[in-house]
């Protein structure tokens, strides 16, 4: 049963005589108990979509139901049933006050959801234990480590036992150890409480390791959805790299003729084949070369990464520090994309 259903969700910002289409048309469905990753390059409309689904921003078009409540007609109903953990880097932080004590933040949060004090205190204690924050209740937030603070922010989003929780870049800025620790907590959220998790992320390994399903957004439109494996299979195909002793040209021609081979390229490392269902195709390819008397000196099969999927679908890499994404940022700058963020926050 879908717990989030959106169709044609769109948001335009008007700034200085220019109209910016931050989100053009998002269609998505999330089933109960799923962990769904929402991926997209910078400026693709991830955060704007998330802000619409959490009632922080009113869509200019489209409709959606979240946890059984209509986003436009009953935003209060949506707010009661969802948890939201904002991203902790960039323009605004994760929502905790430096001067507050950890336990006060949890109690206040419970009171915001109008949970009675006694119940709120019980929930707070439970969450402290579940998120490895035991013993930190009386500490000021500013004394927490990055990972502890992020876990507190996630605890705040869970204090009212929401049916669905939205995590905006939950692990950005954390060290690898804190990150994989947090993944464990998010998985347990689903396995122990049946909570649906909708998260955005910049880390492909996070989407790969954590998400049942991935939804990709580009230029304000959802462009693909599927399990990470499905996307890799359908969009990119596997890569076989092999070296033959001599006869490279002949091998290349032979292999290119095979129906499972989509593409053959010759490089210094040898032949690079893009094939469908690599592990099943491999024996047949070996037999073909063997039959032609071509000797293989080495062979390797590699699965495509989500980044390959990403490049294929959007022409951009998701990785922040890669040259292709820097190039896309420059391109975005030329079309006025940075203003998008300003318009989004200024609204």
């Amino acid at each position: 049963m879908p717990i989030i259903e959106a169709s044609g969700l769109a948001r335009t910002f008007k700034s200085r005589k220019r109209v910016v289409h931050a989100v053009r048309g998002v269609d998505l469905t999330v089933d109960e108990g799923e962990i769904v990753g929402f991926l997209g390059p910078n400026g693709a409309g991830k955060t704007t979509t998330l802000r619409m689904l959490t009632t922080l921003l009113r869509p200019t078009e489209g409709r959606a139901t979240v946890a059984g409540a209509d986003l436009l007609k009953d935003p209060l109903g949506v707010r009661r049933r969802i948890g939201f953990v904002p991203q902790a880097i960039g323009q605004t932080m994760g929502g905790t006050d430096n001067q507050a004590k950890v336990i006060e933040e949890l109690h206040d949060q419970a009171a915001l959801y109008r949970i009675a004090a006694a119940d709120g205190a019980r929930r707070a204690d439970l969450l402290l234990r579940q998120l490895d924050l035991s013993g930190l209740g009386d500490r000021l937030v500013k004394t927490l480590s990055g990972g502890q603070r992020r876990r507190l922010e996630i605890a705040l989003g869970l204090v009212h036992e929401p049916q669905v929780v939205f995590l905006d870049e939950p692990t950005t800025g954390l060290d690898p150890q804190s990150r994989s620790n947090l993944w464990g907590h998010i998985r347990r959220l689903r396995s122990e409480l049946g909570t649906t998790v909708f998260l955005t992320t910049h880390y492909l390994e996070e989407a790969d390791a954590l998400c049942d399903r991935v939804i990709i957004i580009d230029n304000g439109v959802t462009v693909a959805t599927g399990t990470p494996d499905e996307l890799k299979r359908h969009v990119s195909g596997d890569v076989v790299t092999l070296k033959v002793s001599g006869q490279a040209a002949q091998a290349s021609t032979l292999l290119a003729a095979q129906p499972v081979v989509r593409d053959v390229a010759e490089s210094d490392e040898g032949l690079r084949l893009t094939v469908e269902h690599g592990e099943e195709a491999l024996p047949a390819l070996l037999r073909v070369l063997d039959g032609a008397g071509i000797t293989i000196s080495s062979i390797s099969l590699s699965r495509p990464t989500l980044d390959d999927v990403f490049l294929t679908l959007t022409g951009r890499s998701l990785r922040d520090d890669s040259p292709s994404s820097a190039a896309s940022r420059d391109a975005a700058g030329a079309t006025g994309q940075p203003d998008l963020a300003a318009a989004a926050s200024g609204e």
Binding site: L76, R79, A88, G94, G95, T96, A100, Q109, L112
Partner: protein
Amino acid sequence: MIFIHDTLLVFRRQARLLLREPAYIVIAMVQPLLFLILFGPLLTRLPAGTLGGATTTDAWRFFVPGLLIQLGLFGSTFVGFAIISDWRAGIIERFRVTPVSRLAILSGRVLRDVCTLVLQAILLVLVGVAFGLRAPLPAIVVSLGFIVLVAIGLASVSYSVALLLKSEDAFAPLINTVVVPLMLLSGIMLPLSLGPGWLQGIARVSPFRYIIDAMRSAYAGHYWNSLMAEGVAVAVGLAAVCLVLGSRAFLKENA
């Protein structure tokens, strides 16, 4: 009921956070007294009659209401700074995504600021009495009532403007540009009647000038006159208009 619950929730949180800053408490107590202690004694040496009466007591009756308004003006217009850092910390969004009344995010804060200002005002009056102020108790209560109205209005506007600007660099010069002329045109330090006609004319646009006149009238023991009527009307009107304007920023669907 829910609105009151939510307002008190935000109020308690804000008060708790404020009391955790000892430096702030010291500053909040000392700052309003600076003008009283370092400037007030000068006024008592002015030629008799300059401040509307002949005695030292008259000088204090003139000066303390002015200081109360100055306290209200500065104390409540600067509160917006705090909401910019709260917004940056993600706290405003965190609250807006819960079922809490969005108006309570404003009203709870304003309530905290009103309480702070009233406490500061009481301290100011008490120290004023120690320096030689003599005024009827009802007059002091009336002046505190004015301070409450001023604080409600100005704090609401300050929060909403700050939340729209989201930048201390833009907010600080704006506040100074608005507040300093308003203060000067209210006759806080010296009577406007000393000034030339054009200055007195401009001063009519400052709402605080009417409120100060009403407070000074009360301190002199006159409650039922046109000065008081004007002062009350202006203070209530100002608070109402500012509260409505301020609420709009917080009730906006998108912030």
